[in-house]
Symmetry: C2
Subunit: 153 residues, 2 copies
Amino acid sequence: MAHDFAPRPDAVPGCALCEQAGGVVLWQDDAWRVIRAEDADFPAFYRVVAQHHMAEFSALLAPERARCMDIVCAIERVLIEQLRPAKINLAALGNMVPHLHWHVIARFDWDSHFPQAVWGPRQREVDGGAPARLGMPLHDLDACVVEALVRRD
Amino acid sequence: MAHDFAPRPDAVPGCALCEQAGGVVLWQDDAWRVIRAEDADFPAFYRVVAQHHMAEFSALLAPERARCMDIVCAIERVLIEQLRPAKINLAALGNMVPHLHWHVIARFDWDSHFPQAVWGPRQREVDGGAPARLGMPLHDLDACVVEALVRRD
């Protein structure tokens, strides 16, 4: 299911998200790729990454923003339907890698940081590890994400 | 310039953002209000808050999402033009207050947490305080935000 990643001709040298996929590539087109972030604390953590280098969301035209948020919401809906999380977290920060990418993260009241942000202080250890607590193999969750993205193409 | 806030008839009891403005209300219509967050570490910190209670962004219809992100981007563009920040941070988390609100935060390489998230560990103290470092009175920045929002109405 994972896609290959190759840097684009217009990649910005030294930009981590121009030079590397940033995770497991599940779906992509010319404008966006969807990756799973491979975070042990937050297994249901996807990113919508701009294929072209730009720093800020407002650099996009309105239809491009709409398409981006359609993709974000398609992932959000899969996470809600499949996992019944306590909350979805959406964020485009980019302080360390200023290449536009949206975090889409399913949060649970049992997770290591809840109700803090994933960038905040750890609140607890999770017995058995977070992936085992999801109640669904990640491969199956990935498949649901891909199916939702392909369906809306 | 600040607007009054009154809870809506459909306010959810106990929801902080149904019952309180959450900051200085700069602009509002039936669907959204824009507030400044009054955060001493991050003075250029605005929020776009849903007037009606809902938890998740994907609960909105596509035109409602587009309008929300138009407002977010109007604020983002003002912050970029007026302050030349290192980065804009956008986020809809809601782990503590699950009432849809978007954070729009101008970040600077000198700020107390950069390049960490504002929810992450403090990196430094800011001599003289962050508001004094902005280079612009907050009242003037608020006025630019309001002007941008009114112009696009």
